[in-house]
Amino acid sequence: MIEIIKSTNIDFIGKRKYGFVFSAVVILLSLILIFAKGPNFGIDFTGGALLQIRFSGPITTGELRSTLSKVGKEQALIQALGGEGIEYLIRAADEKPVEFSKSVKEVLSVDFPDNDREILREETVEPKIGKELLTRTLWAIFIALVLIFGYVSFRFDYRFGIAALIALFHDAIFTIGVLVLTQREFSIVVVGALLTIIGYSINDSIVISDRIREKYKKMRKEPYDVILNTGLNETLPRTILTSSTTLLAVLALLIFGGAVIADFAFTLLVGFVIGTYSSIFILANIVSIWEERFPKKKK
């Protein structure tokens, strides 16, 4: 039985400007990255083909690239999986993914007749389907945001609703920024992870908002800042504990889950850290500023 986090009394609200400055800088950098470099969209959205191939003998990225250039596919992304140089992921955006995939397989069997191959995974997505997936995905995100805004506004206050939305955009942009920086593939699975992050972050925000609401009823005489600070400090142990167990689980997934799930786990890991940060530093602070500028009449 231990209690690592004794009751704290950190002045989150007083230090809010540091949080805001940090977030503003990071969001700006993320936006610059997103617009300048662009996410590394996977074939789910661009259309194209993906081949995961395991060779029976070692082969180098250079050999593969020169073979692919014979059929004009040198633009393909070649990624070695594992360390032994026998398993590769070949991926390219292409107008005719089925032909792409076929010609890659053909040229490999011509160039490496003695190096037996197993196709572990083969995906082709027509650009048309990619566009549809993108539209559907955007709709999913939009509906998720509307429903969450609705629920939070209904259970708490529209101000929490709007603050929660801002925090969610913050989390999403921040996470996408990190994905662009690390050039991780932005696939449909990653979008699933982003939505999960949104759910997780809002979950955190709600726990904190709940406590603030409770304190608000009990501490009517106190200034709003004090109420917010109390709420944040009282939920801090829980915030840290839950983040720890969740991050432990996601970390296990990232390290031991294999290549197929790595991007998903990585996105979750980054997003959960950001989500935890934002529910402490962003959400309550937005509400507190709002309260300062436009005080709500106390009943």
């Binding site: 083969e122 939505l195 720890s244 991050l247």
Partner: protein, 504 residues
């Protein structure tokens, strides 16, 4: 202490239901000596593995309806029936075939040979019997050559005919020249008489080079595939050494067509009749005698597998329009196995870390949290089995995530109880108050995540659906486990052992 007996009863009832639901799944995936029948019976009640874990292919096909007048929905429905027949006869275990809007068909086939399955599905299988026109070939070739020489004064003599080589009794081309030959044919298509057409045979090797035979045929087919009553594959009877060990497909015509076939063969003795499948001349035998029985043979250098597949698609009939693969996701069986191994490993390690963490941090109460965590995972698999849900790789990620997030409810409750104890409440009151106060928060925070889960389930595709399903089920069953069950455990033990000081 209200109705503790009833609440314990509910927990036991749920446990029993869970055990009944989970039993087929456990047996199916652990018992190695199942008979085929038991396996099928069990799998009807068990959790399934998604294509990404089992290996298999996911295809979305779209109809190419250019030049067709029927509505796309009707065409798709016909194609759907035909494909279903083909796949049924091919013998795939638990295929998924669904109609989608926009003339699309979704197909999911677990554990099949990819290339063979695609051939089976994609082949239009438009079979035609067309007479070969041998006496006019010189005339047509001459015209093409003359035209090309006029177009290009530097062209050599016989610019087209020089591409042709002899393949047994036929003419043919080297496949390396195929593109050039097709380009010329496209250029001179107006020179070919309106009642004739030029078609090629399949690729074959002839004297060390790869060739395709070249035929001049009538445009109009004498008979088409709709008249087929039955098709069977059988070993080729030909004494020809080249065909030794190869297979053929014998077809049987419907009654009326058999009469037409008899007349056709009777009138054209010593002429050649080409059997054309999807625009490729499979063979062009010479008619030796009138054939009254209404039988014909498609020979070629088929392997047993190819002949069997061809017979299947001929029986199922031709597709009303060509289908194009617009999306394919195929996972080989070994990657699926790797994924299962690494997925299980990740889940076990995640579980271990969280269990140890909770034990260290909350001691005995942490043990209660760990029990409810186990129960939650147990119910998750039980519910998945009861609804015959699929487990995908993102689904496994969802399990790991559920492990991490599920303890949140326990943490919320325990922190509340600690607070209540700190302000001097008795153990029992602190437990009751802690649960009561944490409940509102737990409910609110779970609802939003469940909203996300449902949206992902509706909008997500394939594997993501699996993730959404697990996440949602995990959270719902967690509400039961972490709140209801853990309260029963707390109440029962503090009551029974009259605990004065709670270790939390």
């Amino acid at each position: 202490m209200r109705n503790i007996g009833l609440r314990i009863g509910i927990v036991i009832f749920v446990l029993v239901l869970g055990i009944i639901a989970i039993y087929p799944t456990i047996r199916l995936y652990t018992d190695k000596n199942l008979s085929k029948e038991t396996e099928i019976a069990l799998s009807k009640k068990a959790m399934h593995l998604g294509l990404d874990l089992k290996g298999g292919m996911h295809l979305v096909l779209e109809m190419d309806t250019t030049g067709l007048t029927e509505t796309i929905g009707d065409l798709r429905d016909r194609a759907y029936e035909i494909i279903r027949n083909r796949i049924d006869e091919f013998g795939v275990y638990e295929p998924v075939i669904e109609r989608q809007s926009g003339g699309r068909i979704l197909i999911q086939l677990p554990g099949v040979d990819r290339d063979r399955a695609i051939d089976l599905i994609e082949k239009v299988a438009h079979l035609e019997f067309i007479l070969v026109v041998e006496d006019r070939i010189e005339e047509v070739l001459g015209q093409i050559d003359k035209f090309l020489q006029v177009e290009d004064t530097f062209a050599f003599e016989e610019p087209f005919t020089s591409y042709l080589i002899r393949v047994e009794q036929d003419m043919g081309i080297d496949v390396r020249d195929e593109d050039s030959v097709r380009a010329i044919l496209d250029q001179v298509k107006d020179l070919i008489p309106a009642d004739l057409q030029i078609l090629f045979g399949p690729r074959e090797s002839h004297q060390g080079r790869e060739v395709r035979r070249f035929y001049l045929l009538k445009k109009k087919a004498e008979l088409t595939g709709e008249v087929i009553r039955d098709a069977k594959h059988e070993p080729a009877q030909s004494q020809d050494l080249q065909h030794l060990g190869s297979w053929q497909v014998s077809i049987e015509f419907k009654r009326e067509a058999a009469r037409r076939f008899a007349t056709l063969t009777g009138k054209n003795i010593n002429k050649r009749l080409a059997i054309v499948l999807d625009g490729i001349v499979q063979s062009a035998p010479t008619i030796v005698t009138r054939i009254p029985q209404g039988r014909a043979m498609i020979t070629g250098r088929f392997t047993a597998e190819q002949a069997r597949d061809l017979a299947i698609i001929l029986r199922a009939g031709a597709l009303p329009a060509p289908l194009k693969i617009v999306e394919e996701r195929t996972v080989g069986p070994s990657l699926g196995r790797d994924s299962i191994t690494s997925g299980i490993r990740a889940v076990l390690i995640a579980g271990l870390l969280v269990i140890v963490f909770m034990l260290i941090y909350y001691s005995l109460s942490g043990f209660v949290a760990d029990i409810t965590l186990f129960l939650n995972l147990f119910l998750l698999v039980a519910i998945l089995s009861a609804f015959r849900g699929s487990l995908t790789m993102p689904g496994i990620a969802g399990i790991a995530l559920t492990i991490g997030m599920a303890v949140d409810a326990n943490v919320l409750i325990f922190e509340r109880i600690r607070e209540e104890l700190n302000i001097g409440k008795t153990t029992r009151t602190a437990i009751d108050q802690g649960f009561a106060r944490a409940w509102v928060t737990i409910f609110d925070s779970n609802v939003t995540t469940i909203i996300i889960g449902v949206i992902l389930f509706i909008f997500g595709s394939g594997p993501i659906k699996g993730f959404a399903l697990i996440l949602t089920i995990g959270l719902v069953s967690n509400l039961f486990c972490a709140v209801f069950v853990s309260k029963v455990i707390f109440n029962y033990f503090t009551y029974k052992f009259d605990v004065r000081k709670l270790r939390i």
